[in-house]
Subunit: 217 residues, 4 copies
């Protein structure tokens, strides 16, 4: 009860994919976005040229500009869509779940599942966090903050529920670190799938965080 239950399962139910965009324009745009994501993932935002994107998407250089007004906006759209989606899914999954530990586990699973299912996009999101400037940067920062706040509140719930005392900020950021670092090492031929990883990272993180209430200080 008071003790962590690291093996608590969170089912990795498949969410239905977002419906295909309505207009021809949006469909074509999404297509290009996908190719661009791969290129940014492979070469980095600065390292990728519009010519690379043109080649990858099979569209002329000038044609790209019909869909995106700039390379920076292209990155922005990728990051925004990725982030928005992950937040959106998280909210849906959290609905109706009351147990604080379970809720944190859902957070972790949601993150890792999306991460592994959309590795390129998530790497671009994680790795190119600083590439955007001014307006783009701040709009994205807002989403990021929301996501961060959700995690904070989940941990605060947990703390309240179990009378724990760990430092929330560091815990949250450590958790993000554990999870986001994945893009540097995950090898789908060697490493476990999202569900396993989520359980294992969840175990480490939750046990770590929850033992704090008892033995520390």
């Amino acid at each position: 009860m008071g003790s962590p239950s690291p093996s608590a399962r969170v089912s990795a139910q498949r969410h239905r994919a977002a419906p295909p965009p309505a207009t021809r324009f949006d469909r074509r745009l999404a297509e290009i976005l996908t190719h661009a994501t791969d290129v940014f993932c492979k070469k980095g935002y600065e390292g990728a040229s519009m010519r690379d994107l043109s080649r990858a998407s099979g569209m002329s250089l000038a044609g790209l500009y019909y869909y995106f007004e700039s390379k920076e906006r292209l990155l922005f759209l990728i990051q925004k869509h990725t982030f928005t989606t992950i937040v959106h899914r998280l909210k849906a999954r959290l609905e109706g779940v009351g147990d604080p530990e379970q809720r944190v586990r859902i957070f972790i699973l949601n993150h890792l599942e999306y991460f592994l299912a959309n590795q390129s996009a998530m790497k671009v999101l994680s790795h190119e966090a600083e590439a955007l400037k001014n307006g783009f940067a701040s709009e994205l920062a807002a989403i990021k903050r929301e996501y961060y706040r959700i995690c904070v509140s989940l941990l605060d719930e947990l703390k309240g529920d179990r009378k724990l005392e760990f430092p929330t900020r560091i815990a949250v950021l450590s958790l993000f670190g554990m999870m986001n670092w994945i893009y540097t090492w995950h090898n789908s031929r060697v490493d476990a799938d999202a569900e396993h990883l989520a359980r294992e990272m969840g175990d480490i993180f939750l046990c770590g965080v929850m033992s704090g209430g008892k033995s520390r200080r």
Copy 2:
């Protein structure tokens, strides 16, 4: 007592900095390396131009090439020096310490201390891991592997000592994630110093990992 002792202290003794390089050439080189590190940190490797480095180091563009044969080699030297130093210091600190938990805590402290004391260099090391190619990449990969192996062996010692069962690979990589992610959030005006961070991350990680032997599966 078998139970983790998260508050175990590891003194953060200052190591004397490496002696200044002997030759004038090496000294000038190191100077440029320092400026370049800052620029790479701020703009990224791809985003930084040799002209930026020239400006930052107060040396003519052509002058830089007297010291470095290419931009890539410049990055290589930065990363190699940083990595070599951190490994070197770690080995010195581990010497004579027998307790497995203590040894892991030393690893964490050493990493974070160096990270915060050399934020730019460590960000360049972490963030630009993929920028190097071929020969440069493989030479650096060798050092990286050594560092990784040390961490693995520390955790294996801990596992053996306490009869634990957590998955080492994921534990190690989670730990690296927690620590390396710092560069994305650490704010010296807000966040604690290396010693505190090391204790807190150590607590989370060690408790997480060490509770595994008892309650899981």
Copy 3:
């Protein structure tokens, strides 16, 4: 009569120039090629900068690269076109001519006529023979070899016809030397036109070569 007839005439009929290339792109490309030829002629391949070519052709530096992927390929195209054309014309002129001496005279006239009508291109062809590397070099070498072989076979025909004994290789290469050296001295205000030159060089070369069967050794 067995004796050389040095004054044998070869009419220098004008061939209609190749029709202008079909596409806008090709026309623009040819235009640039012409300017580049002049610049390479004046400054040499190494000595000419892309900026020089840009200036000469009235197109921006970057614009040039829309037509040519590299300076080397630019030179290649010039040389290939020049060589291909000269070979092509030669074959057309040789058709239907049976007399061996006449055929050699046609070879010389064809070479000199094209040389003087396209001095820049021919100088670039002669003088920058070593500037191309690898793939470019070998493709051009193939054309060169074909041209060389044609000349060899013409001289061999002559030898067979007149029972001569001169060393073909040296004769051919001497002839090429005589002709190609023109770019170092020909001054259109002082020197004769192609037809005269061809007759005179033809006289020297053919008499030299044909007297061999009788008086030597």
Copy 4:
């Protein structure tokens, strides 16, 4: 007798090499000149960098400038020395020879012998004729003119002696073409030595030129 005697022999007597330069400076300079000649031969004047010369001669970049005030002067010295030497040797060999045909054959032999014995230098002389500017160019042009005039006068003697009528200018320049072109094709493993080549080119050229008096026009 009135007929050409193409096989007339010209002994290829070895001239003693010029005495070693007196001063240490001059000796070192000559050494560097030799290395530079090879580099210019291999890469061309424009294509060769001072760094290439430095590497080839084993002397520091700055050190070279103690001996030569500029790259251009370096080329000048090479060309001047080469040309001066060949003219000097020619004059010595012509001394005391009266027969016009023999004198022309000496000219050819002298040129080819020096050419093959000093291929690099002669290629640099032939190929980089236009690289020099202004003062350097004109000083070299003077030597060149002298050499050219000698050849003209030799042919005029021959014409007078045998009542020939060929056009001297074209004959001379054709002869130079035949000889100088050698650098583009001579392969010491395949092609004959200077004496043979001189006889064969002499045969072609002299027969060609001498038959002119009888059958032409």
